[in-house]
Amino acid sequence: MSDQTQVRLLYRAGALGIAIFSLGPILYMALTAVSVRPDFLSPDAGFTVTAAHFVSVLRTTSLHFPEYLRNSLIVSGLSAAFCVAIASPAAYAITRLPLPGRILFLLCILAVSLFPPVSMVSYLFQVMGNLGWINTYPALVLPYIAWILPLSLWILTSYFAQVPADLDRAALIDGCSRLAILRKVIFPVAAPGIFSTALLAFIFAFNEFLFALMLTTDHAARTVPVGIALFEGLHGEIPWGVVMAASVLTTVPVVLLTLVFQRRIIQGLTRGAIKG
């Protein structure tokens, strides 16, 4: 076997291994969701396809799945929107102002996000309780913004730093104010960065479990991850088929968002601003 074939073989084996490792659980989830019995792998069970789990997730009002999904979309959407709205002018200022010790500043911001959420959750519970915000959207959106903002700022800073400063100068000369530059030049040029940051912030908030578990009490504000975890069958057993069907439905918006935004996350938009 030549070296090249060996390398190619190893490469493919590695790729296959990673794919199975990452996608295996998802495949298992999807299969469980459409199987009549959750233990379809055991010899005496057998695999029969059914849509009953999906129907019951969407139709059973006591499960409140549609409400959980709505809460998740609203909370994650708001968190992502606020994060980008706050982080982008901040990142613009960090990349453009003559700030000595800029990296120190950025490291301090990063340090804020290093506190483990579990260390803050009891305190947060008290604050939200005193404010009377338990089981409302702000109780989740505010901590999510604080938690995701440092990361958003770091990503946007690296994107904005790639936009040549000559573009700012050109726009200043052409009569733009700093805010107009941000809106008319930086945003469009760094659009891939904005979209990936927004998407990442959305996914972070969408997947968050701990805060959502502690700060919500029912379907008025409870998000999908917590909702699914608290699904219970009639007799106290875990309804695996329904849980998996709900999980499949939950991945749909995230996958859709990724696919839609992927078309906008095109690199190379800055190519041509500077002599290439």
């Binding site: 003559p98 000595p100 010790g101 040549p164 000559d166 573009l167 100068r169 050109a170 726009a171 200043l172 000369i173 052409d174 009569g175 733009c176 104010s177 107009a180 008319k184 030049v185 469009p188 040029v189 659009a191 190379g268 938009l269 800055t270 190519r271 041509g272 601003a273 500077i274 002599k275 290439g276």
Partner: protein, 366 residues
Amino acid sequence: MRLTFSAVSKTFLSLRGPVRAVRGVDLAVGEGEFFVLLGPSGCGKSTVLNLAAGLVKPNSGEIRLGGRVVASRDGKVFVSPKERNVAMVFQSYALYPHLTVFENIAFPLRVAGVTKDEIDKAVNQAAGMLGIGDIREARPAELSGGQRQRVAIARAIVRKPALFLLDEPLSNLDAGLRASTRSELKRLQRELGVTTVYVTHDQTEAMTLGDRIALLRDGRIVQTGTPEDLYERPETPFAASFIGQVPMNLVDASVREEGGDLYLRLGEARLLLPPGPAARVRSIGSAEILFGIRPEHIGIARGTAGSPATGTVTALENLGREVLLQVRVDSLPLSVLTNDKSIREGDTVALDIPLEAAHFYEEGVG
């Protein structure tokens, strides 16, 4: 519109301490003049341009544009670039990558809130002047360097600026394109009659484009004058060596007075100074001086017949029309430009050094 700088200074702060980019610069650019800021990299010429544009605030001094004070630290005046009506072409072109050529050129007009019809008219006119009407829908990434350059110039002239600023606009073009764009820029500036400040480190560009040139070094203006002034009468050794296709020869020499006549000693050679140069040498008032002569002014012939200065050819560069020779006169190295292609390396040659065309400087003065 006239542009004047009075004692303008700018210091940038960095972690390694303050950087004094511009130190007490005085400038006066006349109405419709093509003014060139020339100097080596790091001399502060781009900062001067940014000060004129309003991208940088001066630490001291005053800048006026058309009689109006646009920046003065003491008078607490600073007029933003937007209100100065200046246009600028950047070395990197700085085209907006997300906009088409048409939208790039239209950008300053859109920001100014000009009506659609007027924008169409102005953009088409500017694009027509630069011959880029056929690429209006292309994006910057699809354009060649020369085309990007033209778009950048079109964007600058489209709103009829009071002051036209160019920051090394030709340095990213290849040699052929650079020469043609150079003459086109000159023509365009004449046609528009707009006051222009042009920054470059290339003395050829400065000499061919400028009505007047300011030579900068370490944030200070070394000399201001017409291209002829700078070539014929460089006031310092730095100006002498910076201007000219082939740098001027600058060598140590000494002066002796013998019987009322002044003699210049170049190595072993002893040359009688004619009255004009003698008077200039006397005004320096030192026996040890720096002697400057341009390579194109030195005459050269093979052999040594009766010549006061002789030397050996140590290296030879064929420039096509001319040959550049390195000649060693005793221990002094001199460059000589000649049309005589029969001279070879190692030849002994006689040099004719016309002292009327020579320059004399005090030793040890930049």
